[in-house]
């Protein structure tokens, strides 16, 4: 019993912290949503308890055996009906009042969240089946950064995420930071929030988008402001020329095999935008949109046989000589 209780506690507490948890706010916006949620939950629970008590009391008090012959229907005294009419009317009035308070509260929260925060850092997010493309705009074209499956942002500064989809509807949702916003082809929409706690938060596509909807995650990394600037600067550097011969032949494999048909690497003759940009692949936390940790072994497995890891993914299987694969991995590992 004690153990069951402890287990229940662990499960419930497990729900209160984590990288992908709506009730563990890391932004002012989500803090106000969470407070409202708890307020509504408390009121709703009290109402539920009251209703349950209200029907259990007569059910238990007047309980008869089911075998008893049905007694004739009876007339309810007029006085009882009048009293009940008053009680039901009061309960209805109470319902209206509670709903009205909820409504006003919700409008207040909604209004605050919808307010434009003024100067915000704009990041564009493009949804693809089944990965995320992230653009950091800059007036200077050489400073534009294109990343994939990781969204980096500064703490304490409002950010505007511009949401675009090129294929089907996806939905951007970082539970710790803000509620959902759909990426709808033909529409450009935006969402504003301000992270107030550094950390790595997990986002996952929330609108069913086909085969691999389950494996379309996005790591959202909230950096302290100065670290963010440093990170962005690092991302602006093109891929370095490989220094050892293995990596150099890996680069050759990249360009001569199917890789560059879909993937771009800045500073290399690979420009395709079909798949994720790989300029800083090795600096990413995960592979295949949050499906695997980014290790050398996983990368090799992903390149050779993506269809058994993420069936239906757009990445085809690649039949590479093992020597070429080793070289390719060595090269890709240099893309820090």
């Amino acid at each position: 019993m004690m153990r069951a209780g402890r287990l229940a506690l662990v499960i419930l507490l497990g729900a209160c912290s984590g990288q992908q948890n709506a009730l563990d706010p890391a932004s002012a916006q989500n803090r106000s949503i969470t407070v409202m949620f708890w307020a509504m939950l408390v009121v709703a629970s009290l109402i539920w308890l009251a209703v349950t008590a209200a029907f259990l009391v007569p059910a238990v008090r007047q309980r008869r055996t089911t075998r008893e012959e049905a007694e004739p229907a009876f007339e309810v005294p007029a006085e009882t009906s009048r009293r009940q009419t008053r009680i039901v009317s009061a309960a209805t009035a109470g319902t209206v009042l509670i709903l009205l308070l909820f409504l006003i509260y919700d409008f207040g929260v909604g209004r605050a969240l919808a307010a434009h925060p003024g100067r915000a850092l704009t990041i564009e997010l493009v949804g693809h089946q089944w990965w995320w493309e992230v653009h950091y705009a800059d007036p200077d074209p050489s400073k534009i950064v294109i990343d994939a499956n990781e969204l980096h942002l500064p703490v304490g500064q409002p950010v505007q995420i511009k949401l675009v989809s090129r294929d089907v509807i996806h939905s951007f949702w970082v539970p710790n930071l803000i509620g959902k916003r759909d990426l709808i082809p033909g529409y450009t929409s935006s969402i504003f929030f301000t992270a107030d706690r550094p950390g790595v938060y997990r986002a996952q596509c929330a609108e069913f988008c086909g085969h691999e909807h389950a494996k379309m995650a996005l790591a959202v990394v909230a950096h302290p402001a100065n670290e963010f600037v440093a990170w962005l600067d690092r991302q602006r550097t093109p891929a370095a020329e490989p220094s050892d011969s293995l990596a150099t032949s890996g680069k050759h494999v990249f360009l001569s095999a199917a890789c560059s048909k879909c993937h771009a690497i800045t500073g290399v003759e690979a420009y395709s935008t079909v798949g994720p940009n790989l300029t800083h692949l090795a600096s990413r936390r995960t592979l295949a949109a949050g499906t695997l940790p980014n290790t050398r072994g996983n990368l090799g497995g992903w390149i050779v046989d993506p269809q058994s890891i993420k069936p239906g993914a757009r990445m085809p299987s690649n039949q590479l000589e093992s020597r070429d694969l080793v070289a390719l991995l060595a090269y890709l590992q240099t893309l820090k």
Binding site: P58, F74, I87, T92, L99, W173, G179, E207, F208, C209
Partner: protein, 661 residues
């Protein structure tokens, strides 16, 4: 004898009846035999295919829909097995997506709506004291259209062509570019069949309710179950054309002949689908659950031994819910770029609809307080409904908030909410209704001991299966995912939910065993085993082919409780042809006689012609033209047969009809 009108009905002239004549048993039996000759449809396979008896058709409807409940349940169990542990490999994404889409499509389109319609098609004529339903052939056609949809979906699923874009089939995912092949076509046409079936049922129920009520059953005396069916039927009439437009005219046309309604690259609009779909989809929820509420009232009245508290309030709540349900659809779209001000209107509307629902719950609780509750299985299911549904209703109010909804939308929180509402609000009352009305349909009682097992396992199972999903949703678990990582921490609660699902499966199995055993060898029920008040209990169990020997005369809201002594009836309808009495819409005064059609094969043939048309249209647009030709021929055949039936005759005078037995 002086008739006593319903205790709280609106002032109405009390009818003074002539003193009851002594019952001539022999005459009565002769009448019954004659009526049976007139109304019984032929037997054998031909009879089975041609019958237009609303009870036979509705019984088939109910059994088919229950089979669909089992099929949808098996799909649910498959999903729960897959999600029980992280990174499970029982079902791959391809299979899982077909399974969850088929689960939703089955439960919404092939189980919930049809079974609620079917309960109406069976009981509305009995409850209003009519010999049959208004359009018996249309009724048979509706069932066969539905059956074609059922067979089509499941044959497709087993051919690995089950729909896989979700039961909401959002565009452009469900469009030709992102869902090539025929999977989504199957979905679009299955929806077409069920729309047609639902519209046929709705029109039938509306006309039966408004024009075929027994004399004296004025609008303010209609049983609440019938009110719910009437409101829902009107909702179907307004809501179904929206999904018909969306799925048949737009989605199917986009896929078959590239109309590009939803293709932004060609100037179409991806969001348009959501508006049209949810304009149907939200009323759909209430189409499923208002009949459930309609079932609660007679159960509560019967087992509390008093007339329900607040009849007027309950009726008005039904109607307002029906109205409001058309103003909520945007709350499914809060995450789309619809301006905040527009969204807030739908927040208010979504909260507003909690008021009529609350009023109904308060009225039943008041009935229980001043009544003498007897906890039969049917009544227990009503308690289970209150216990479970209120949770779903309250999370529904929370979801009305735009800001909170954006956190919960498309997560397991919403999965939990919708199952609490639909299982709590529709399936639990439905199970209660089965225990309550099973004797009327089969003549035998369901076993109460098995019933208690059925009830407790169901309530416990449902809550264990679905409550943890609230937490999972807030913990970040999106819906419609076939797999999740162990690091997500979603494993334990998913395992718990799967355990709950196992309990639900056990409960449903007990129900099926109970139904099978009781149908064969349950206690014989007699006409009115629960000493209930409605007209359906005024005839034998099961009701004969002609429903009532004499049309009842209704003097109040609770005919069997209102009249002291035998139920007053009227005579004067002919026994040698299928004559029914048509009454006025408001006061139910006798208006004219109408002759209902005999058994016919045309409804069945028509559904086949329609099946060829729609299923063929998946493969070639020409099928529409060929099917149209076939359908026209069938209409000719149908009409030629109908034209041989004589026209209606006017009732001579009202007084000559009124006699008492």
């Amino acid at each position: 004898m002086r008739a006593r009108s319903g205790r709280s009905s609106i002032e109405q002239e009390d009818v003074t009846l002539p003193p009851p004549e002594p019952i001539d048993r022999e005459q009565l039996e002769m009448n019954a035999r004659q009526l049976d000759v007139t109304w019984r449809d032929p037997g054998g396979l031909w009879g089975w295919l041609t019958t237009v008896d609303h009870k036979s058709i509705a019984k088939r409807y109910i059994i088919t829909a229950l089979l669909m409940f089992i099929a949808g349940g098996i799909e649910a169990a498959m999903m729960r097995m897959q999600l029980a542990v992280p990174e499970n490999s029982l079902l791959g994404p391809d299979r899982y997506n077909q399974v969850f889409t088929t689960h939703g499509t089955t439960m919404m389109f092939l189980f919930a709506v049809p079974i609620m319609n079917a309960m109406g098609l069976y009981f509305v004529p009995l409850m209003v004291g009519a010999r049959t339903i208004a359009f018996p052939r249309l009724n048979a056609f509706g069932y066969y259209a539905y059956l074609v949809g059922v067979v089509f979906l499941y044959v497709s699923l087993f051919l690995n062509t089950g729909p896989d874009a979700g039961w909401t089939a959002y565009l452009p995912l469900a469009g030709p570019q992102f869902s090539p092949g025929h999977r989504v076509d199957v979905w679009a046409q299955v929806v077409t069949f069920t729309e047609i079936a639902a519209l046929a049922a709705a029109v039938n129920i509306i006309v039966t309710t408004l024009k075929m009520r027994a004399p004296g059953m004025s609008l303010n005396r209609i049983p609440l179950f019938v009110w719910a069916q009437l409101v829902v039927s009107f909702m179907i009439v307004f809501a179904m054309p929206a999904v018909a437009t969306a799925s048949t005219l737009m989605l199917a046309a986009d896929r078959a002949v590239s109309t590009h309604w939803f293709n932004p690259a060609e100037g179409g609009d991806a969001l348009l689908w959501q508006h049209v779909f949810w304009f149907f989809g939200h009323p759909e929820v209430y189409i499923i659950f208002l009949p459930g509420l309609g079932m609660v009232t007679p159960i509560v009245e019967t087992f509390c031994r008093r007339r329900v508290f607040g009849y007027d309030a309950l009726v008005l709540a039904n109607i307002t819910t029906g109205f409001f349900s058309f103003g909520l659809w945007v709350h499914h779209m809060f995450a789309t770029p619809i301006p905040e001000l527009g969204q807030s209107l739908f927040t208010a509307a979504s909260m507003l609809i909690a008021i009529p629902t609350g009023i109904q719950i308060f009225c039943w609780i008041a009935t229980m307080w001043s009544g003498r509750p007897r906890l039969t299985t049917a009544m227990l299911f009503v308690l289970g409904f209150l216990f479970t549904f209120v949770i779903g209703g309250l999370t529904g109010v929370m979801l009305a908030s735009v800001t909170f909804d954006k956190q919960a939308h498309d997560t397991f929180f919403v999965v939990s909410h919708l199952h609490y509402v639909l299982i709590g609000g529709a399936v639990m009352p439905l199970l209660g209704a089965f225990y309550f009305w099973f004797p009327k349909v089969t003549g035998r009682m369901l076993n109460e001991t098995l019933g208690k097992w059925n009830f407790w396992l169901f309530v416990i199972g449902v809550n264990v299966a679905f409550f943890p999903m609230h937490i999972l949703g807030l913990n970040g678990m999106p819906r419609r995912i076939y797999s999740y990582l162990a690091e997500s921490g979603w494993g334990p609660l998913n395992l718990l939910a799967t355990a709950g699902a196992v309990v639900v499966v056990a409960s449903v199995a007990i129900f099926l065993v109970n139904a099978a055993l009781s149908w064969r060898s349950g206690a014989v029920a007699g006409p009115n085993p629960w000493a209930s008040s409605g007209l359906e209990w005024a005839t034998t169990s099961p009701a004969p082919s002609y429903n009532f020997v004499h049309t009842p005369l209704v003097l109040g809201r609770h005919p069997l409780w209102d009249s002291v002594g035998p139920l007053p009836v009227i005579t004067g309808l002919r026994h040698d042809r299928r004559e029914v009495l048509v009454t006025t819409a408001f006061d139910a005064r006798p208006d004219h006689r109408h002759i209902e059609p005999e058994a016919s094969i045309w409804p069945f043939v028509m559904s086949l012609a329609m099946g060829v048309t729609w299923i063929g249209s998946i493969f070639t647009p020409w099928a529409v033209l060929i099917g149209l030709g076939m359908t026209l021929l069938v209409i000719l055949g149908w009409g030629w047969e109908s034209s041989r039936v004589k026209d209606a005759e006017l009732v001579e005078t009202e007084d000559r009809l009124v006699e008492a037995v």
